[in-house]
């Protein structure tokens, strides 16, 4: 479980996060949503330590991540997998080397064991046999799936996804969402997804956190999101014509 307690973050005079508190439970797909500039990516970066909060705490299963030094954080980071918006695959490495990289760095497994693990996760993301392709040879959706495979290669307890659907067609988008949700359930992972894609919200949003101007504005599930009278949330949810039309029907 990840607990975020009263996190504030500002860049110069610009206050981006204003006291966010939230819990993210294992086996549940949590989505942080909000319009551009609402602070959702900043919140995620504060949670994983890519940014340091000005105040507030982040706990990983009771372990105070914010108070740890670099060395202590490494142990927790080995339990974290992250899918980046642009996939962030190492472009000088093949698919297999990308996925094997954390295993090479942190485990003493034999080559055969590592290859087994690589093939297993590749099969899990429906990319079996693509071991020797380079990132430049993959489509956007395939790159995301390799990103997921790399993120889960170390059997993480926590999975973060930053805009996993950006730049993907609706079909690939749904495939990625379903894959992440399945993995979350299958391995009891604490999954946090930052998105502004309403398809994802309505598809896999078990636990949704809506941020507005750096504050937690609303928290609930996909079943509750369309029936709330929260004005800002409604403006966000019904911003697309498609959502509006579907709900009217």
């Amino acid at each position: 479980m990840i607990e975020v307690k009263d996190v504030f973050k500002s860049f110069g005079d610009n206050e981006v996060l204003k006291g966010i508190t939230a819990d993210f439970k294992p086996g549940v797909t949590s989505l942080i949503i909000g319009s551009s500039g609402s602070g959702k990516t900043t919140l995620m970066k504060n949670m994983v330590g890519l940014h340091e909060p000005n105040s507030g705490k982040v706990f990983y299963d009771g372990r105070d991540f914010t108070s740890m030094d670099t060395e202590e954080r490494i142990d927790i980071r080995k339990e974290i997998g992250m899918l980046f918006q642009g996939s962030a695959l190492f472009d000088s490495m093949t698919v297999e080397k990308n996925i094997r990289f954390p295993l090479d760095m942190f485990t003493d497994q034999s080559k055969a064991e590592k290859l087994d693990r690589v093939n297993f996760v590749l099969e899990r993301v429906n990319l079996a046999g693509k071991n020797h392709l380079y990132p430049a040879e993959l489509s956007g959706g395939m790159m995301k799936r390799v990103g997921i495979a790399r993120a889960i290669a170390m059997r993480p307890k926590y999975l973060f996804c930053d805009e996993p659907n950006s730049g993907l067609d609706p079909k690939s988008s749904i495939m990625i969402d379903e894959l992440v949700a399945e993995i979350t359930k299958e391995y009891e992972i604490t999954t946090v997804i930052v998105t502004h894609d309403m398809n994802s919200v309505m598809g896999i949003g078990e636990h949704i956190l809506f941020l507005h101007q750096g504050e937690k504005w609303w928290e609930g599930s996909k079943d509750e999101i369309t029936s709330t009278d929260n004005k800002e949330l409604n403006e966000f949810v019904f911003a697309t014509k498609l959502m509006e039309t579907l709900l009217k029907k």
Binding site: G49, I74, I80, M82, G86, A88, P102, M105, F106, F160
Partner: protein
Amino acid sequence: MVFHYFGKYILLIQAVFRKPEKFSIYKNEIFREMVSIGLGSLGIISIISVFIGAVTTVQTAFQLTSDLIPKSIIGGITRDSTILELSPTICSLVLAGKVGSSIASQIGTMRVTEQIDALEIMGINAPGYLILPKLLGGIIMIPMLVVVAIALSIMGGYLAGSASGAVTSQEFIQGLTTDFIPFTLAVAMIKALVFAFIITTVSAYQGYYTDGGAIEVGNSSTKAVVISCIAILISDYVIAQLLL
């Protein structure tokens, strides 16, 4: 402001020397960088060195018009200026352009495409993994390139002297072997080591703190070359002042 950047640079260097996660992976990266920096630059360094030696010989001969000065001194001047200044400094300035811009753009691209964030999230010491192999590769290979450059410059001088008739082969070799001070070679190696450190770390720093997109990567690459060149020239003067 300068102190702020210098402080950031020192902190980055400090992080580079943190204990590697797995030495075998670092070892492979170091060899890869040695090939990239060393073999990758051998061609350009060879061409430049031969011509530097040739031009030094011809121009020295042009300036020595007095019959009272023996022609053999041309060999001595070519040797000393090549060893002390031309090979280490000019080669390093060229390498700042070739190797430095490549390091800055490589690391800068990794920064803007979140590959460095990915390394950090995995729990890998990104400065160590990305910069240490380049630094060690540079420190090992750049002095070797300078040794090759010295040899080729002297050879270029010898060939140009003979071909132009400015100095005979015997006179050139006589000048080359007279009054040689071995310490000048030590100075050249010290310069090469310092310049290698500057080229790799300054360029890596510029790349590591790139913020933005393609334009910023280009800017970082340009800044890496400009700052490395200035730092090389300043340290060249300081080393000469201290050691000679």
